[in-house]
């Protein structure tokens, strides 16, 4: 039986061609990969525009303290502006329009931007894995808590447990400690032997072991458990204690804040809007960062969550490649390949068995917090779309950004069902589209 609706993507937006704004190379996302791409592309004399949905450039990793730009990002942004790169902050891509245009949203107003080539560098976000109590106030994503503290949230004297997996935990714990938090425990899921194995492999990459040593120094005094994870969190209206398991022994720990860090997952909404092929929950780009869609490139963590250096090098390659200077890009391919190998070994070390994660979940555990959908209501359904239709999971405010990856982990569902607009738009703004384009 043929199926009209699923034959083609619903994600592109159709309309007649009219342009408001024009650029040769449009970069979506002003984190390390996007900024590096802009730098490389503008070095070939191309007219470049960078948009970022945050008020400041730099992405998650170079996130500014109290809205001051971090030093590294600041230098890069200044250099770009000097080169004539147009930088538009607080500007979101909400839809892909025909004739090489996007619909951008800034200050509540939409406008189209026309481009010759577009580089998508929308980075990654934290993955959330539901467990009993994860929706209690006081439970945060590790990166999310760090971002809040950078924004001025006071944690001095607060008792904090950092849990989850991966090197991010150490960095976050060190940061929280520096900011006056009383970090009482780091609970790492991975067992010690795997960690040692990873540590040895890290020695092969110059600079990595020095970074690691620095971190060790900073987190001295905090207890660090391996093979340990949070079973549940509870409290009356807000978090007051967590129950953790350590080598199959359970214990309760009183705390005010819990920072949970799992893996990062690529922000695939924008590349999906453009219709880019995906592979293994990432954009399927070639070594020159070209996606399956003509004139659409992708760089950084949307291709592979591999950290800052990989993002920077991919950004540069994408910039050269978009400026049609493959020669310049070619010189960077070997370095990228080395970084990619290291990043893959890290991913394998901290890979979490979904069976393990499911164990903590009960029928009452909320999976979709926007629509209050518990695990028990969706566990027997066949896929993300069915769950959406049956329970409205993923159809709330966050549009499945949180529960989508949670469902990928818990059920192995492919949770990619992006629809425009990527962020909510006022009805009056939708109504204006016609006149704005005339």
């Amino acid at each position: 039986m043929y199926d009209l609706a699923s034959n083609r993507s619903q994600t592109a937006w159709r309309s007649k061609p009219v342009a408001k704004k024009k650029t040769e190379i449009l970069v979506i996302g002003g984190g390390p990969a996007g900024l590096a791409a802009a730098e490389a592309a503008s070095s070939h004399g191309k007219q470049v525009t960078v948009i970022d949905e945050n008020p400041a450039f730099g992405g998650q990793i170079w996130r500014a303290e109290k809205s001051e730009l971090s030093e590294k990002a600041k230098n890069l942004v200044e250099a770009l502006e000097k080169n004539g790169v147009e930088m538009i902050a607080s500007c979101t891509c909400v839809a892909s329009l025909p004739d090489k245009r996007i619909l951008a949203l800034s200050n509540g107003k939409t406008f189209p931007i026309r481009y010759d080539k577009v580089i998508i560098a929308t980075g990654a976000r934290e993955q959330f894995v539901p467990f009993p109590g994860w929706t209690l106030p006081g439970v945060f994503g590790a990166g999310g808590l760090q971002a809040l503290v950078k924004g001025g949230y006071d944690i001095s004297g607060k008792r904090i447990v950092v849990a989850g997996t991966g090197p991010l935990l150490l960095a976050v714990a060190a940061y929280l400690k520096k900011k006056g938090g009383n970090v009482i425990l780091i609970a790492e899921r991975t067992d010690l032997l795997s960690l040692i194995g990873f540590g040895l492999s890290a020695l092969r990459v110059p600079g990595k072991w020095r970074e690691a040593l620095e971190l060790r120094k900073e987190i001295r005094g905090i207890s660090y458990m391996t093979s340990s994870s949070v079973l549940w969190a509870d409290g009356n209206g807000k978090l007051s204690r967590v129950t953790i398991t350590n080598d199959n022994e359970e214990s309760e720990i009183e705390c005010d804040l819990l920072a949970i860090g799992w893996h990062l997952v690529p922000n695939l909404e924008v590349p999906t809007l453009f219709g880019c092929d995906l592979l293994a929950c990432a954009v399927n780009a070639d070594e020159y960062m070209r996606t399956s869609v003509e004139d659409v490139l992708s760089a950084g963590e949307i291709n592979f969550v591999g950290g800052l250096e990989l993002s920077l090098i991919e950004g540069k390659i994408a910039g050269h490649s978009a400026a049609e200077n493959l020669e310049a890009a070619r010189g960077l391919l070997a370095k990228r390949s080395r970084l990619l190998t290291f990043a893959s070994s890290m991913l394998n070390t901290f890979l979490t068995d979904p069976e393990e994660l499911r164990k903590a979940v009960t029928n009452d555990t909320i999976v979709c917090r926007c629509e209050d959908v518990p695990y028990g209501r969706v566990k027997d359904l066949k896929g993300f779309n069915e769950a959406k239709l049956e329970t409205r999971l993923g159809m709330g405010q966050c549009q499945g950004r949180v529960c989508g990856s949670a469902c990928e982990v818990l059920f192995g569902w492919e949770a990619n069902s992006v629809r425009p607009p990527l962020v909510p738009l006022k009805i009056s703004e939708l109504a204006n589209f016609e006149t704005e384009n005339k």
Partner: protein, 369 residues
């Protein structure tokens, strides 16, 4: 084994047929394609509405509405069945005459409606634009969250012994036999084709059933009160026209506080992407009637394809040239409303019984006429 009935298509019409026929003791097999959910059913609005474009449409929609009312108590709460009624809103005095005509038309079949003047309309729906002359209130109409209702019907059919075969795209239908692209052969005495726009796998239906594209927009939860499904009377003009793209004001309150806003009708497009200009026209139209929606945040826009027929009536019944192959398709925008009535008519025809309403107006014998 040979089934009594094979049903092709597990949207709400196929699901209702499966439920009805298996409850009558027939052995039923439902066959559906690779998509997770029937696209037209999933995309629809879930408005159960009596419409009087033609006497036949009036008969089928009012009969089906009664069946929904009986069915409502069996539905799970997640189906969000709500007997909120419809307000047909007049834009001017000329349309108030249409309100009057509709009132008497509905009264003819004993359907109670109420004419609201400017003041009573204002108190019924305080967020509508001021100064609208009035509306017809049809209290018997309802809304339902149709994906849940569809799954409920399928599950009940399964519990009564029906088998459901998914991921089985049908390649061929001949008398007594359904063949899938995967090479599976399903034998059945009777074959019902309820595959919406996909019903065109039967060449006889392909001539007549054409996709008619629609758009819907849903908002975040709002505090804006909407008490009824609100539809402009001009909707009838929009629904009648066949050649031009058209939009009409149509807004549905959801239990969650979200607003579901329609509607558009376009022929000749098989492109599922949202057309921003049509959406803009829809939203303009909506704001003309319902200015309070201006600041509501739209979270999602989607499209769907209604299976439309040249005369605006569905095809229900035996397809000429076949032995016991039945159509249950071409419901256009009324598939949710008329699913239960359609299933009853199909069951009656298969079992050789009289029906509660005449079946003849829906017979596919009128194709090619």
């Amino acid at each position: 084994m040979t089934y009594d009935v094979a049903i092709i298509g597990a949207g709400i019409v196929g699901a209702a047929c499966a439920d009805r026929l298996s409850s009558e003791g027939l052995s039923v097999c439902v066959i559906d394609g690779p998509s997770e959910f029937a696209p037209a059913t999933a995309a629809g609005m879930g408005h159960i509405v009596v419409m009087d474009d033609s006497d036949a449409q009036f008969a089928l929609t009012s009969y089906s509405q009664k069946l929904w009312d009986e069915f409502a108590s069996e539905l799970p709460p997640e189906a969000e069945f709500e007997n909120c009624g419809t307000l047909w809103i007049a834009a001017d005095e000329e349309e108030m005459e249409e309100v009057d005509r509709k009132f008497w038309k509905y009264a003819e079949i004993g359907l109670t409606t109420e004419i609201l003047d400017e003041r009573s309309l204002r108190s019924a729906e305080p967020n509508l634009k001021k100064g609208l002359p009035g509306a017809l209130r049809v209290p018997g109409d309802s809304v339902v969250y149709q994906p849940v209702a569809t799954n409920f019907l399928l599950a009940r059919a399964q519990a009564a012994g029906a088998s459901i075969s998914r991921n089985a795209a049908v390649s061929l239908v001949i008398d007594g036999l359904v063949e899938t692209w995967g090479g599976e052969r399903i034998e059945a005495q009777h074959i019902v084709i309820s595959a919406g726009c996909g019903s065109t796998l039967l060449p006889e239906l392909a001539k007549a059933v054409k996709p008619r594209k629609g758009h819907l927009v849903i908002t975040e939860r709002t505090n804006t009160t909407v008490n009824h499904q609100l539809v402009e009377l001009g909707y009838l003009r929009s629904a009648h026209g066949t050649d031009r793209d058209s939009v009409a004001f149509n807004i549905q309150p959801r239990k969650t506080g979200q607003l579901l806003i329609g509607s558009s009708r376009q022929y000749g497009s098989d492109d599922p992407s949202a057309d921003l200009e049509i959406v803009a026209k829809m939203m303009k139209r909506a704001l003309e009637y319902f200015p309070s929606a201006a600041d509501a945040q739209a979270t999602r826009i989607w499209t769907g394809f209604r299976p439309a027929t040249p005369d605006g009536l569905p095809y229900i019944g035996m397809v000429p040239g076949y032995e016991k192959v039945y159509a249950a398709t071409g419901h256009e925008g009324l598939g949710i409303t008329t699913a239960l009535g359609t299933a009853a008519l199909i069951a009656d025809e298969i079992l050789g019984r009289e029906s509660a309403i005449p079946r003849e107006p829906y017979s596919p014998t009128r194709i090619d006429g």
